[in-house]
């Protein structure tokens, strides 16, 4: 990502430093099957009290980004290989483990996806809550206990005095998530990271838990990063949204702006693949065909190109940086005036975004350059944008091409033969 962010929001004189300032974050997992490029230069900021949604499908790097922020990547495979995470004036990437431990829980807290497994089964809720409180605040046990009771009451657990003595398995899923929220907010952190906090819960409980998180963070002025794959969840909960794909932020805007004017084909696809209650005349749902790329072997071009109906030839070879939708406008990275930015060579127009597919005359999604054609992309090429004769001619040849790149290279009939420099032999 080549976008450079200003050191501070330029629109406010002597403005507050953002609470969280992530720059060019690079996370890799070294596994036996190869290196997984989980997060590929992600930059974003978060103001105090601001609520940010992080949206994307499974494996797009949204959870990894946040585990990296509080340095809880699984060791030894996961590593931060670049970038910085400034939180409240400190760089968390270079901080000592013991200092990071101080920050965890006290300044940054996290709520996890599955409340059924996020509490220690052999300790009572009381022991776990008091332990967390006492770890950061030197206070007598009785005071910590009183605080725990208060917190449980705050998150809506009936008879908190009595329930404190219970073990996690004696709570329902929704109640456990409430306990997790109580523990996360025990020390009034500055930042709460909620990683799909409602995915494992009943639909009826989901709304309650979201409402609770929303209310408590607003009351305490806690900043929130809400990770989810459900755009419906972030809509009412956040001020701003980052859409992630294959370890990149591909669109960022304030929540209202993103829903009004989605500008990246992937965001458009997400919105059109989601059923809406207020749908006027039952527009058909448009699925996003294909699969996300193999994170061990990312393409050189835009990672979304194989699935994109708007793609141009350049999309296969050049990964676009995150830039303002309105070219040349100044970049505000956070806050209510944040600039709407996308990483796209050929963004859908407002009208196309409404319909969910390209509608300009004569547009055909660019076929992949010969050297990059593999089974996956050829199927994706067939699937999106409808089946067209020119695709049918290209796709069956894909299997032959794999083995004869140099020969095909000369015969390639399009003008991008200089760009297919990464061989397909190493894929798959």
């Amino acid at each position: 990502m080549t976008t450079t962010l200003p050191a501070a929001p330029p629109d406010r004189a002597g403005a507050l430093e953002p609470l969280l300032d992530v720059r060019d974050l690079l996370v890799r997992f070294r596994t036996h099957d190869g290196t997984i490029h989980a997060v590929n230069g992600v930059s974003f900021q978060l103001q105090r009290g601001e609520r940010l949604g992080l949206v994307g499908e499974s494996g797009c790097g949204k959870s990894v980004t946040n585990l990296a922020i509080i340095r809880l990547l699984p060791k030894p495979a996961g590593r931060i290989e670049g970038g910085s995470v400034r939180f409240d004036g400190q760089d968390l990437v270079t901080l000592d483990e013991s200092d990071v431990r101080e920050i965890r829980g006290r300044d940054i807290a996290m709520i996890f996806q599955d409340p059924m497994t996020s509490l220690n089964p052999v300790l009572t809720v009381e022991e776990q809550m008091i332990e967390t409180i006492v770890a950061h605040r030197k206070m007598p046990k009785a005071d910590a206990r009183a605080r725990a009771v208060e917190l449980l009451g705050m998150v809506g657990i009936p008879q908190p005095e009595k329930r404190l003595k219970s073990f996690p398995h004696q709570f329902s899923g929704g109640m456990r998530q409430r306990v997790m929220i109580a523990m996360a907010l025990a020390l009034e952190p500055k930042l709460l990271i909620a990683d799909e906090p409602t995915t494992a819960l009943d639909v009826t409980i989901q709304a309650q838990v979201l409402e609770l998180i929303s209310r408590l963070t607003t009351e305490t002025g806690t900043s929130l990063v809400l990770i989810t794959h459900d755009l419906g969840v972030v809509a009412g909960m956040t001020d701003r949204i980052n859409v992630m794909y294959a370890g990149f932020i591909i669109e960022t805007a304030t929540t209202g702006e993103l829903f009004d004017r989605p500008s990246h084909p992937y965001t458009v696809g997400l919105l059109h693949s989601m059923p809406r209650v207020d749908d006027r005349e039952g527009d058909p749902l448009i699925p996003i065909e294909g699969r996300p790329p193999d994170m061990r072997n990312l393409p050189n071009g835009c990672p979304f190109a194989p699935r994109c109906a708007w793609r141009l030839p350049i999309c296969w070879s050049d990964n676009p940086p995150l830039e303002p939708v309105v070219p040349g406008s100044p970049v505000v990275a956070s806050g209510p005036a944040a600039t709407h930015r996308i990483a796209c060579h050929n963004p859908p127009t407002a009208e196309e975004a409404v319909h969910g597919h390209p509608s300009r005359p004569g547009h055909v999604p660019a076929p992949p350059p010969a050297g990059q054609l593999d089974e996956l992309t050829s199927y994706a090429a067939l699937a999106d944008g409808g089946v067209r004769p020119e695709h049918l001619q290209v796709a069956p040849a894909a299997h032959d091409i794999d083995h004869e790149v140099p020969a095909r290279h000369e015969n390639a009939h399009h003008h991008h033969d200089g760009d297919d420099h990464h061989g397909p032999e190493d894929s798959g």
Partner: protein
């Protein structure tokens, strides 16, 4: 875990549970095979503890004129080649088996847990060195390793304990290390780390207690095998240094020649070994089921 979570709460409220351990205990009490195991173990331990009280004779006293008597009211399990009362010797034999078995398994548990905790807790190079070393021990058949150790250290009760302990320590080491590795990536350990837990507290409060139950179960099961091993080593003449010691395996060796003329001499020690081993096996299986808090009935 897929069941609607909301149904769990009323269960907890209906049956006021007093805690994890008492819940486990009540589950264990309802487990019939485990209770049969407990009865067997009670007989075994009772025999060992009460041997001096209930034994009608001394373990070493016998009249040669009284030898190879079949079971009778005076000698319920008959007498052996030296005219010693077999019932008395079985009772005292329980003492040897219990003592050697329990001490050996405890030693194995401590050694293994230490190795496993170091390997699983520290990881990296320490882990590699410790685990490859335990692999070497695991590669040697257990009884052979024990025989080797006794051959090296000479016969005797302590040597017997040590031999069995060394044989089983790698089992515990691997088990604990495996649990710790799995726990390190478990949701609640990551959750605990996310609120600032770390280092020693993480290991002692969150990881070890959760890794303990498989160790307890395994120790119970190993105790059963250890009792058989003790008898096996005794049978091979590698038991206690004093050949007169009433040890079940040694008794079998002596009785072997009279299998046809005095079968009770083989039957009763063999039955004692079987009953005590099965007892620990049944209890171990029952513990495995009842100590898992996720298994609710």
């Amino acid at each position: 875990m897929t069941a609607p979570a909301a149904t769990v709460v009323p269960v907890a409220e209906r049956r006021a549970s007093r805690g994890l351990w008492s819940d486990a205990a009540s589950r264990l009490l309802r487990n019939k095979p485990a209770m049969l195991g407990v009865v067997f173990i009670a007989i075994f331990v009772g025999s060992a503890v009460l041997a001096p009280v209930i034994a009608p004779y001394g373990p070493l006293e016998g009249e040669l004129t009284n030898r190879l008597q079949p079971p009778s009211p005076a000698h319920v399990m008959g007498t052996d080649l030296q005219g010693r009362d077999q019932f008395t010797r079985i009772l005292y034999g329980a003492q040897i088996s219990l003592q050697v078995g329990v001490v050996a398994v405890l030693m194995a548990l401590v050694m293994g847990a230490l190795i496993g905790a170091l390997a699983g807790g520290l990881g990296g190079r320490v882990d590699a060195v410790l685990m490859r070393s335990t692999d070497v021990f695991l590669a040697i058949p257990g009884l052979l390793l024990a025989i080797g150790i006794i051959a090296w250290l000479d016969r005797g009760l302590w040597q017997l304990m040590l031999a069995i302990a060394v044989t089983y320590a790698p089992v515990f080491a691997r088990l604990l290390r495996g649990s710790l590795l799995a726990l390190r990536e478990s949701d609640y350990v990551i959750a605990a780390r996310s609120v600032g837990a770390g280092g020693g507290r993480l290991l002692t409060r969150h990881m070890l207690p959760n890794a303990l139950t498989p160790l307890i179960v395994q120790a119970t099961l190993v105790l059963a095998t250890a009792i058989i091993d003790i008898a096996g080593l005794g049978f091979l003449g590698l038991g206690p240094a004093d050949p007169r010691t009433p040890e079940w395996g040694t008794m079998l060796t002596d009785a072997r020649r009279f299998l046809q003329t005095a079968p009770w001499l083989v039957f009763f020690p063999a039955a004692a070994i079987v009953v005590s081993a099965i007892g620990f096996n049944l209890l171990g299986d029952g513990l495995r089921e009842s100590l898992d808090p996720r298994l609710k009935r």
